[in-house]
Symmetry: C2
Subunit: 206 residues, 2 copies
């Protein structure tokens, strides 16, 4: 990669900027400013300008940002100017919701593979696809060249399935099981656990 | 509150420590160290010691942390040594999964109220509870004294429902709608949007 090094925390804010710009675009807006973005996001305008300046010159002094142009640029930077195929592993309630989630469209992702090890679920249709046998996962993911997986299996299976996903060539795992998984070098993991967010708020409640 | 000020980023790591300690406890473990916690979490041992030292002395030099004791202390600090009642608003696929989510038990939360505005959903049972009419939400939440809500409504309704939740006395909102919501002073919001995590990883993919 010839991209220069950008701190991970800055990379993490870019999807927030992109999401807000896409909403503004839907609202029919054409131009915005770092001030307005900052107010919508609770981030300082200076921080937003600094973050964006790592990737180029996107706005002109006094005229703000062209929403469509900056959206396109951020989609390129985040590599979501194409659609990534995603596998969902574990079709319980959470996996089911992910398989049918409407929020991926136009944001760079589509679910194309579903796996579970429950004979009652294998072969059933969820959203647009059939649930396939977990024992065929490595082969099917390799064949399809899928690099992204969402993991919604029980805690005690999360590490084992993670190892299989790595073997299958998956490079990015979004883990919904409430446990930290160990991934090999070259594989990234992100986490979604609602309790972590809730506990972060109850700290401030009596 | 007579608690001293602790940076929000430190508060945000405590639920991770608690989750890991609870898993260790389930594994039958009695003692751990900042080194071991750090390896499981990808956080430095020094950072963990520094974070915990903000709240007291929990370990002895050379003997590590007693897992049960530190778990109890963290549960007290995060105010999850009791069970908080939670309302779920919007019983689509995501709300449905939240209403039935097994991962809340023993971590300080239980879902007790479900609301939707779809006549086809109102009155149906999801998990242990009936879906109630969104138009009765403010009254029902006030009556029950519920302070925590998970918001799984469509983007275009998220702000309006947020305003109603604030009116009802809710102090903590976990928002699953992919949009930033504006909350009044005294109300906190956290966000879950899988696309933000996925885009943060595709930045590193080709």
């Amino acid at each position: 990669m010839d991209e220069k090094f950008v701190p991970n925390i800055v990379v993490g804010r870019l999807p927030l900027y992109l999401r807000t710009l896409q909403l503004m675009h839907q609202e029919g807006r054409r131009v915005t400013s770092s001030q307005e973005l900052g107010e919508r996001l609770g981030i300082s305008a200076a921080q937003i300008r600094k973050d964006l300046s790592q990737f180029g010159e996107f706005g002109k002094q006094g005229t703000g940002y062209n929403i469509e142009f900056l959206t396109d640029q951020l989609r390129q930077i985040l590599h979501v100017n194409k659609v990534w195929d995603v596998a969902v592993i574990g079709i319980g309630d959470v996996g089911h919701a992910l398989a049918r989630y409407q929020g991926f469209s136009n944001r760079g992702f589509r679910v194309v593979l579903l796996f579970d090890n429950d004979p009652k679920k294998i072969g059933t249709q969820v959203g647009d696809f059939l649930v396939q046998d977990l024992s065929t996962m490595v082969t099917k993911i390799k064949e399809a060249g899928v690099q992204i997986a969402m993991l919604a299996v029980p805690v005690d299976q999360a590490q084992q399935v993670t190892n299989l996903l790595s073997e299958a060539g998956v490079k990015s795992i979004l883990n919904y099981a409430p446990i930290n998984i160990i991934v090999p070098s070259g594989v990234r993991a992100q986490y979604i656990d609602p309790v972590l967010h809730l506990q972060r708020m109850t700290y401030y409640l009596d």
